[in-house]
């Protein structure tokens, strides 16, 4: 009897609790285990990016609901939620995970397997439209995906013949879009997603062929086999934020070339690499450079404009100044003089007097940008904003202001003023 009791006490209870204490309870009792702060990238009142230590944010009711759906459907079996400082994960997905980010996760969902990609930093990478279409049919957008369809995230009734998300679906999109948001605007400062200047690539038969293959695997789901923006995804699910570009029109928003001109290859390269924030167009910085260049050659075959009217010379973007309170104040003056507020509203919330009536050249409703959200379609750098003022967004009501500025300083003042509108409250 004596030995049975020894085994039970020492092996059974003793070692179990010893390990639990050393590996679980002691670490939990240490001061470091109480950390709830995160290194967060924020925009200052001067429109610049900086890092601060800030408290992690608890989940709202909607996010908790979305998290419940995420747990219920077992998303976490295939999608991990932690990024390691090794194996290139901080380049592929974003900054390495921090302790404080997880402060309100119960149960934790960090996971042990990646049949799909890690989702730690997925918030803001894709637009809500992309997520909706992807839940409805993952292979419509990513033909090689192995993810199940989540058609029960959608209402039975259709709008304009297309499906829209149910309450559960909206909640899970909100939860997924919130992932990594404790790190704030880290994506705006993410070096791999930023293209300073393009090199170039020469169109050959081989590059066109390769580009077509890339297009079919990565682009056709939204932009369609014919490049007309009528892919299976936007035909099945209602895109509420923006429609995929119709490449046959030859009209491109984000260019360094003047209004009316087709873009340079490097302009398209920049858009592909950084994506268009807030819309279904994701950043493709993980694609090999060859894939990105070759798909550009292929995309250009959709519109005869590229051959008929070669791009005009690009604008020069001068060296940017150091922002000061005076520059911001000057920017507000320019904002008023140029009547930016007519569309974008006095506070830059996109609610100006004309905002309800705007349409783009394709007849789609196009709300003016709400600058306070800090989501800039053309890119988050001052140069990106400046470029938009100088060249306008072709096909939209946003004109070029290159002739209206008295000097580049006006442009920079307006740029930093617009950026400062999304300053994070301290």
């Amino acid at each position: 009897m004596k030995r049975a009791r020894t085994i039970a006490l020492i092996a059974g209870f003793g070692f179990f609790f010893l390990a639990l204490a050393v590996q679980g309870i002691f670490p939990y009792l240490m001061k470091e285990a109480r950390v709830k702060t995160v290194t967060r990238t924020v925009r200052t009142s001067l429109g610049e990016l900086t890092e601060i230590r800030a408290d992690a944010v608890p989940y709202s009711e909607l996010l908790e609901k979305g998290r419940g759906v995420y747990i219920r459907e077992g998303c976490w079996y295939c999608h991990s939620q932690y990024l390691r400082p090794v194996a290139g994960e901080d380049r592929r997905w974003g900054p390495v995970s921090e302790f404080g980010e997880y402060a309100y996760d119960l149960p934790h969902l960090v996971g042990t397997r990646r049949i799909g990609p890690d989702l730690t930093r997925v918030g803001g990478k894709y637009g809500d439209d992309w997520h909706a279409a992807h839940y409805f049919d993952p292979r419509a957008i990513v033909p090689d995906s192995t993810m199940p369809k989540f058609t029960w995230f959608f209402k039975k009734e259709k709008v304009d013949g297309k499906r829209i998300l149910s309450e559960d679906g909206k909640a899970v999109v909100a939860f997924v879009q919130n992932m990594g948001m404790n790190k704030g605007k880290w994506r705006d400062a993410f070096p791999y997603q930023i293209v300073q200047a393009g090199s170039a690539s020469i169109e050959t038969t081989a590059s066109l062929e390769h580009g077509k293959a890339v297009y079919e695997r990565r682009c056709a789901g939204c932009h369609g086999d014919k490049g007309d923006g009528q892919g299976p995804a936007p035909l099945a699910v209602l895109f509420e934020i923006a429609q995929p570009r119709d490449f046959t029109s030859g009209v491109f928003k984000f260019r360094t070339t003047p209004t009316g001109s087709v873009p340079l290859d490097s302009d398209i390269y920049r858009t592909i690499t950084t994506g268009i924030r807030g819309t279904a167009m994701p950043p493709w910085f993980n694609l090999p450079e060859d894939d990105r260049w070759d798909v550009i050659h292929f995309i250009k075959t959709f519109s005869p404009d590229f051959k008929q009217f070669p791009p005009e010379p690009p604008i020069m973007i001068p060296r940017l100044p150091k922002p000061t309170p005076e520059l911001i104040a000057n920017g507000r003056k320019v904002f008023e003089e140029m009547k930016c507020w007519e569309c974008h509203g006095n506070e830059g919330k996109g609610d100006g007097p004309k905002s309800d009536t705007l349409e783009d050249d394709f007849g789609n409703r196009i709300p003016p940008a709400n600058f306070t959200l800090g989501i800039f379609k053309s890119g988050p750098r001052p140069e990106d904003i400046f470029r938009t003022f100088m060249t306008g967004l072709s096909g939209t009501p946003m004109p070029s202001f290159s002739d209206s500025f008295t000097s580049p300083d006006d442009g920079w003042a307006l740029t930093f003023f617009v950026l400062s509108l999304s300053a994070d409250a301290r």
């Binding site: 030995r3 049975a4 039970a8 020492i10 092996a11 059974g12 209870f13 070692f15 179990f16 390990a19 639990l20 050393v22 590996q23 679980g24 670490p27 939990y28 240490m30 470091e32 285990a33 747990i71 219920r72 459907e73 077992g74 976490w76 079996y77 295939c78 932690y82 390691r84 090794v86 194996a87 290139g88 592929r92 995970s97 302790f99 980010e101 997880y102 402060a103 996760d105 119960l106 149960p107 934790h108 969902l109 960090v110 042990t112 397997r113 990646r114 049949i115 990609p117 890690d118 292979r139 090689d144 995906s145 192995t146 993810m147 199940p148 369809k149 989540f150 029960w152 993980n286 090999p288």
Partner: protein, 449 residues
């Protein structure tokens, strides 16, 4: 031992084993469906049967269904034999059978309906896990009281493992299901869950599986255990090191680095119990290796010991940081879990069934079917872990080299396809064990499904 055959409550052993045979058809079959979904994502995919809802049914079905049901049946065979008296309060035994298996059925239905606690291997919605814990405590009480009244003075090593496994897992089920989901959010929850997760494999499957092979290998080989000293070393090094390893599931995470290091060191130390017990098993056949050819129990147990050796050694090295850089999150880890859980423990308990079933059901079995089944199990699992290790290394290094993620999935697809066939081979073999044994005893009075 045959002289003491009247010590065993045959009816309850049969009930447990039949439940085990049922789960051995069910849970691996779910695994086949899951593996098909890798290549055919829309296959059998709807709100209730998509990957995210089926996966926990497979994992829990194998651990708590196939393995545990058979093991608990074997407990009712081993304990009376080792103690020299009949089980304490035999009339209680049937309640544990129904409590355990009924809870499993209710739990799997709940998982399909979307009730999932969100913690791996602790998914069952509360209060269902209390049914499992209740059954275990009931069995533990019977076992301890039986041991306390035993006629044999010495406690054989199988009993040590059974005692510890029942204590550990009773506590662990309460800890994982009642404490973990409600306390310590964030990274603390990660660390505490890592411990729970590995307690399930390390403090339930491992000691339980070892108890089985320590009992049935010498019994079926008709050789004494090679070395009691080695079994002592194996037991105490396992009991000491295994509880510490859990956090190796979360290396390079924000979990405190020093706890990760302790987990890695303990994981490497586990080579001691693994190699000593394997040496002990092989030594037990010394001078009697012809049994390896003639006896299905011996054949499968020795094969399982080899798989256990490969899988566990892989597991130790897998815990090293440098090895985890490419392999973590990939099928390399899945190879480890299948090599150990299926290749080792499930094969051991199935092997024991070839010994026990004819003795509790007064039947025999078809040798041809058993030979087919054995070859399918051995071929299937060997091919599966081979391909999973290869594909894990390929995907891991491809991603480290900077491949786009979906491109690495494309690379994996042919391997996944082959994996499905290895799985089918293995699963048919496993199903045949139970079917073969059950069919031969059909029509016996008192044998009910």
């Amino acid at each position: 031992m045959d002289s003491s055959n009247n010590l065993v409550d045959k009816q309850v052993v049969r009930s447990w084993l039949l439940w085990g045979f049922f789960w051995a058809v069910f849970a691996p079959f779910i695994g086949i469906i899951l593996s098909l979904k890798f290549n055919y994502p829309t296959f059998l995919s709807n709100e209730y049967l998509h990957f995210g809802r089926l996966r926990p049914v497979h994992v829990n079905g194998v651990i708590l269904g196939v393995f545990s049901a058979i093991f608990l049946g074997l407990v009712y065979y081993m304990v009376p034999k080792l103690a020299g008296i009949r089980m304490y309060k035999e009339e209680w035994s049937k309640y544990a059978v129904w409590l355990w298996n009924g809870t499993l059925i209710a739990s799997f239905l709940s998982l399909l309906l979307g009730f999932n606690k969100g913690l791996e291997v602790a998914e069952f919605p509360n209060p269902l896990p209390l049914g499992l814990a209740g059954a275990l405590f009931l069995i533990a009480y019977q076992v301890f009281m039986t041991i306390a009244r035993r006629k044999e003075e010495k406690i054989y090593v199988s009993l040590w493992y059974i005692i510890s496994a029942l204590i550990w897992t009773g506590m662990n089920l309460l800890y994982g299901n009642l404490v973990l989901p409600y306390t310590a959010p964030g990274i603390n929850n990660v660390a505490l869950h890592g411990l729970y997760l590995h307690y399930v494999v390390g403090l339930w499957i491992t000691p339980a599986g070892l108890a089985v092979i320590y009992f049935f290998l010498p019994a079926s080989a008709r050789n004494p255990l090679y070395s009691h000293r080695l079994s002592l070393i194996g037991f105490w090094s396992l009991a000491f090191f295994y509880p510490f390893v859990g956090i190796h599931h979360y290396l390079y995470s924000p979990v405190p680095n020093w706890t990760q290091t302790i987990a890695i060191v303990s994981s490497m130390m586990l080579i001691i119990p693994v190699w000593t017990v394997v040496a002990n098993f092989f030594g037990t056949l010394k001078g009697n290796w012809n049994k390896f050819q003639t006896d299905f129990t011996v054949k499968l147990m020795i094969f399982g010991a080899a798989m256990y050796f490969i899988g566990s050694t892989q597991g130790s090295f897998e815990a090293l940081r440098s090895v985890q850089q490419p392999t973590h999150f990939t099928d390399f880890v899945i190879a480890h879990s299948h090599a150990t859980v299926f290749g080792g423990y499930v094969i051991w308990v199935l092997a024991a069934c070839y010994y026990v079933w004819p003795r509790v059901a007064d039947g025999s079995f078809s040798v041809t079917t058993a030979a087919w089944s054995t070859w399918m199990i051995m071929g299937g699992i060997s091919a599966m872990i081979f391909i999973l290790i290869i594909q894990g290394l390929i995907q891991g290094t491809e991603l480290m080299a900077g491949s786009e993620f979906v491109d690495s999935i494309v690379t994996m697809k042919p391997y996944w396809f082959i994996r499905t066939f290895t799985g089918i081979t293995m699963d048919v073999g496993i199903a045949l064990v139970g079917i073969n044994l059950y069919v031969t005893s059909r029509g016996l009075p008192g044998v009910k499904a």
